[in-house]
């Protein structure tokens, strides 16, 4: 189903191969030898496609889908329509991710430097790197093996990067050390000056920003996100953290491992975020805070105080989840009472 203008498909695969990749079990009536050509969404899949159901919101679409096979939680498999072979998994979205990668493995990076790219003599490119048209690699920059730098991206002097990284079109990196398998989407800005000024009525004095950005392995950074370098300490993004589009990460921020930062979040300077913290879209954190491991911050929240580990907060100023909903309900009731007066 994936448009062949943009995606190459490695199929067909037998249902047995699909189930193995998915770590799923063949459901009742599933024919392991049947061939499937691709994955597809529930509503457009045909008999030759593998679909998935992960969100109960889509059970109706599931029950009328023409998909030949579908990854589904055992509890919902009974809702499958006639002709659909269920592939049973307790984590159907994870299973789908593996099946989608079976049909569409990441294409191998074809090594080479485009003649219009500008690579400094003192830059070092690892084996198998691909540098596309108009990309610029500065002096003493070092890229690991098999890095792919898209057109018109800019990697400034001295930047270091591990193996198997991707730098999107028109992204720019400076003053940073990047780990392995880091994905940097188009238009990302890493390592520019932080917003460091000594304020004054007679003028704001720029404070030299002397730190770096450290990005650990397996980080994924969304399009047009900005990550400023540290003012003295470094700005650090921990291993396996994923960051959506248009996020602002200020100087000296530390994000722990495995965090999830949704689009348009802003994290102010020197705030330290623990591991496995989830931050909902458009939330804002003021500076110099400490956010504990496993905390969850609701979308659009405004966090102005430290958050203990494992706490869920919402609202502006952010308060614990239950308190937030109590406030919302109270306010709604008062609003309605007023009307009844």
């Amino acid at each position: 189903m994936a448009d062949p203008r943009f995606f190459r498909c490695a199929g067909p695969f037998s249902l047995r191969q699909v189930a193995e990749a998915a770590k799923a079990e063949l459901g009742d009536g599933a024919d392991g030898d049947r061939a499937f050509v691709d994955v597809a969404p529930l509503d457009v899949a045909g008999p030759e496609h593998v679909a998935f159901l992960d969100n109960r919101r889509y059970v109706e679409a599931f029950s009328v889908s023409r998909a030949g096979a579908c990854l589904v939680h055992p509890d919902l498999a009974g809702r499958a329509p006639r002709g659909m072979m269920p592939l049973l998994s307790r984590e159907p979205y994870h299973a789908y991710a593996r099946v989608a990668a079976l049909f569409h493995p990441a294409p191998e990076v074809e090594p080479g430097v485009h003649p219009s790219a500008v690579v400094a003599d003192s830059a070092v490119l690892g084996e198998g790197c691909r540098i596309e048209a108009g990309a610029v690699i500065g002096a003493r920059a070092r890229l690991g093996a098999r890095c792919l730098v898209h057109p018109n991206a800019v990697i400034a002097d001295g930047v270091e990067m591990g193996d198997d990284c991707v730098v999107g079109a028109c992204a720019s990196l400076s003053h940073c050390i990047i780990g392995n398998r880091v994905v940097i989407n188009p238009g990302v800005r890493i390592g520019q000056d932080g917003f460091g000024f000594a304020l004054g009525a007679a003028g704001h004095r720029k404070v030299p920003q002397l730190g770096r950005v450290i990005i650990e392995d397996d980080v994924d950074i969304g399009a047009n996100t900005t990550i400023d370098r540290g003012a003295g300490p470094d700005t650090i993004i921990g291993r396996g953290t994923i960051i959506d589009n248009l996020v602002q990460i200020a100087h000296n921020v530390r994000l722990g491992r495995g965090c999830v930062v949704v689009a348009q979040v802003g994290i102010s300077g020197s705030t330290h975020v623990g591991d496995h913290v989830m931050i909902g879209g458009q939330a804002g954190l003021t500076g110099h805070l400490s956010i504990g491991n496993g905390a969850r911050i609701g979308a659009q929240s405004g966090v102005v105080r430290d958050i203990p580990a494992g706490t869920t907060v919402m609202g502006t100023p952010a308060v614990p989840n239950r308190e937030y909903w109590r406030q919302i309900l109270t306010l709604a009731a008062l609003g309605k009472k007023k009307q009844g007066d």
Copy 2:
């Protein structure tokens, strides 16, 4: 009045020509033969300029303006100062748009490919395209007639685009199909990976994003806005929808026709927005929602539930307009009562 360093002016035109373009009527005492050289804002216009009054906030400025002529609603024409010729229109802003385009028609695109642009051999450029310095056009990309690609923009492999499109400087497009007369401002990101991960304590697994972005005719997309490609379904922007700067549109979102999306809005994955929906600045919509035709969403709102067609909502979590204001007033009153205690 427009700075000739940046704008070419097609004038002068007679007041009669101006009125015809505007679809406006000459008011009392207007001399159709008088020549005008350009449009200008009320406060700086002189006798040789055409101004407009559209917002009652500026009636004072109107009543002392030195503009030689002014597009104005008939109800306000009586406030015109001596010496100003009124041009009567019930939609003065629309009328102004037409007059401004009379004096400043969009310049014709001068065809050509800059020698520093990199156009793949297999790319197809329609008649009259202009590809500026440093722009990169990938393999099998197809551009319609008279497209203008600004410097250092990147159009990746396989992208298709209709006629008369504009791609701004440093924008990047991949995995997308673009209609006719689409305007893509500088720094826009279209078609990159959506934020699709199967989350897990041991690590977040990237889910291959196998959809596209479909942009219909006459869409306008603001600077540094990001539109992710679909995860399997496509991300779709309907005909004539206009999107401001720094907006985030996640994977699988569908925006209907004629929508207005103000700056810094975020729309989460798989949310479907109907036709002619207005979304105020910095509003956020969570995922998997359905927003009815003609709905209006206030600035900074946080929408967490479906919205019926024609409804106006505000606040976080967003509630119907009247309910929102009742809450705000109640809260304000309580705050004040408290003080009086």
Copy 3:
């Protein structure tokens, strides 16, 4: 302490030289002849480094720091550990800024035009400009002396710029007049079309945007920020104003002098902001407002009315500071009462 891959250090300097640069006084026991090699943050500084304490939050770190010298307010100097020489200043952050600039003066711009840059024949470059790889300078553009244009930046036809400006990688400028010593970070968009449409059910009509962007001296603009050109009037950023990342500034906005605009703020069209106004992160201002000199707008606020000079406002819709906190406290109390019922 600054990573020599990215920063050159002009040290060592004697403590006396450091104190002079800082305009600080040597505290008790300070040895003016002792040599220091660099600045460093409190927690990693060693005996050869100069640190600073500006935020009481970090007094503990100060009291156990191994820094050889530290800029500190006289009131806190008594908390210095043994072996640290205090440098007394009533404005330690300002003092630090000067000391950091002593050790790390802005590197001189090495003049030259990279062979892959594209500079129009009719463009004029001032003495000592540096134009890096892939940058594009349009026809009739004029740059003052010692401007530094980073790789793949785009300066469109007719743009004028004063002396000693910096344009970051992949930034794009059009329809603008830029003062002296203006810093434009990577990915900034200046001068594109504003969001000017005459709305209509049958389609939204683009209104030609005929103004410019005027940026006065000493302005600093953060990464991926967007500043649209005026619709007729100009968009104006006053002298010495500093703007953080991902900020949206719409057409016809005027920002006064010395303002501070934190990340992800959005300012809607035709709003005029006075001098020395502070706008917290993610705040939004609707259009056509007037914000008085010295006003302060809290983070995430939604401003929908004019603000008198010197007023502090918070919340959505924004109200005076004290009123906001009263509302927040009242609501919190009601939420708790409710629980107790």
